[in-house]
Subunit: 349 residues, 2 copies
DNA sequence: CTGAAAGCGCTTACAG
DNA sequence: CTGAAAGCGCTTACAG
């Protein structure tokens, strides 16, 4: 069944008794192929186990059969989940998925977005995960001939799915504020040479808005550029503890940094919510176990949904299509790391 | 600097005043190119921002410029870390990385390994992560023309890096045994239609050997096919609790399943080490926080090392090369979820 | 050391 | 509805 040498379109043409170009058209379900021819071709191709050579197809002006997933990092829980869900979607649709991790490095970031033509040579479409783009980059991407979809990047001229990050952060922050905390720190995402993770920026906005509604200002010293890993959170919280009086509550932009924060507290003989209230965003599988208060979001769903949208773009490239934006639901989950600020609490009173 | 239309080898030839084929040779550092020609070509290519079209290159008999990473799943912590480390290596060496997750499904597994010729069309090499292969598959892979390297697959006819899984499991199990536990359950990896995750099989071997050394037999009811995620561990432990008297200790093949086991215990009002001792393998960043006893292993290192080995194979394809195997160090870390079995312990005495 | 020619396996106008 | 021909951008023998 699997021959040593792969069957070519030529073989299919011979076996089906039709010309190469009819075969080509039939295989791609193009118009102007009789039903009979279509059937013959399908049979021959099936029998030969024929699959078009992606290289030849690409070179002749067709498609590569690949899509790229571009993520700030591939190790964070959110990205690993999203990537796998998207990869599944792509594989089932017959696309290979090329993984590009920006590795949280500005240099890698600019290398990737600085040569979209090279990218276009290798893939037909791109799924962007929480990448912060400037206007020039958005324009270049739109003009690149690449199909594009994204996760966590609302306001962009292509299909996007995510959560309302500003709102989710607002909820988390408001939860803290309503419990009487007013001295808040935020563990934010890392900045990549002026380009942060997109969701991080939005979450910072939500944080600020909640504070503003309580007539509070964001204190720059309390906006810590952390990242998205457990280690990042641990480092950021350690820094916070070392450099100044502890804030009364901490909003971590994702659960993993919150975990790290919890670890750092323990290393210093402190704990949540006794010494400081801590809340995250995600509802990571460990959060329940650690009693972490958080704002839950569907994760794999976002990857699968966005991947699906991209597949549709790939299938109907000509058809002009108004970009859609989809916000999935989030929910505040109050657990044990947040509590009302008390007169007896250690600091600030 | 970035032209609308990509420069072709033709453009480089014209600019450098040389023929296309000299340019081709110069660019690939092939012999029989004068130093002067080489310099001219390099200059012209640089100026034009020229990069060979991977599709054309592949079609003409060259390489695709891509490698695939094949993993049982992409979401588990170990795999996410390994994949990113490998991807970094590949990117720096100029290879695109195609991610293929088997999604823990036998069907996906056989689709991938059943058509190696199709894979060869898309990538030059493959990095296998903990994939259990049978003799026929190993033979097919070796004959496929693909460069191969792997993580966690010792005994294979290509370069491999990993830990001594049998030994690591033996250490973890012996630790339990030496503390007086004799009624042990193991939370094993999932089986994919007869093919388990390779490391899982080896770890099961180590578990058995440790038991045998204590004149104990492996009780089939206590070998739970779990998987590698937190959810998997939670499910497996819940099953264990529901179906029979609790064993006195549990060896989880990885830390994440151990986390899940800890969660299940808590859900049933139980805890480690009071009601059952629990040990894992990995030393996940959360393990310290949860006090989980475990056997640590370097993770990103394995991915980077194996990827590097694959890059070397890709660079020197002709050169025949005896496969190497590299075991990285592991270390037993005793924390708080394991303790000596006491007369006062709830069960079995 | 260098170049002209053929060919890799497709797709795309263009005739029929 | 169908096919002959050109061409995509490279690499690979083969001459020189």
């Amino acid at each position: 069944m699997v021959s040593a040498q792969r069957a070519t379109i030529q073989d299919v043409a011979v076996l089906s008794g039709l010309s190469i170009c009819t075969v080509s058209r039939a295989l791609r379900n193009l118009p102007n192929v009789s039903e009979k021819a279509h059937r013959k071709v399908a049979e021959a191709a099936e029998k030969l186990g024929y699959k078009a050579s992606p290289a030849a197809s690409r070179l002749a002006g067709g498609n590569t059969g690949s899509v790229a997933i571009i993520a700030p990092t591939a190790t964070a829980w959110f990205f690993a989940q999203t990537v796998e869900a998207a990869e599944e979607m792509f594989a089932d649709a017959g696309h290979d998925t090329v993984l590009i991790s920006l590795r949280n490095k500005a240099e890698v970031r600019s290398r990737v977005f600085g040569d979209l033509a090279a990218l276009r040579q290798r893939v037909d479409g791109v799924l962007l995960l929480n990448v912060e783009l400037d206007a020039a980059e958005i324009g270049a991407l739109a003009a690149s001939g690449l199909a594009v979809a994204s996760v966590g990047m609302s306001g962009v001229p292509w299909d996007n799915v995510g959560i309302d990050d500003e709102q989710a952060a607002w909820e988390a922050t408001s939860h803290l504020l309503e419990m009487g905390h007013w001295d808040l720190a935020v563990l934010a995402g890392r900045d990549l040479g002026g380009h942060s993770v997109h969701t991080s920026r939005r979450r910072l906005d939500g944080f600020s808005r909640a504070l503003a509604e309580h007539d509070l200002e964001v204190h720059p010293d309390l906006v810590i550029s952390a990242g998205s890993s457990i280690e990042d959170g641990r480092r950021a919280m350690t820094e916070l503890i070392a450099n100044r009086a502890l804030p009364s509550a901490v909003f971590a932009e994702c659960d993993e940094t919150a975990f790290g924060a919890l670890m750092a507290l323990r290393e210093h003989g402190l704990s949540a919510p006794k010494d400081v209230s801590v809340i995250g965003i995600d509802d990571h599988p460990m959060s329940w176990f650690l009693g972490l208060s958080t704002v839950s979001q569907p994760v794999a769903d976002q990857g699968a949904f966005a991947a699906n949208l991209l597949c549709e773009r790939l299938q109907n490239p000509e058809q002009d299509h108004a970009p859609t934006n989809h916000f999935l639901d989030t929910k505040l989950i109050e657990r044990k790391t947040t509590r009302r600020k008390r007169r007896t609490d250690k600091n600030h009173d």
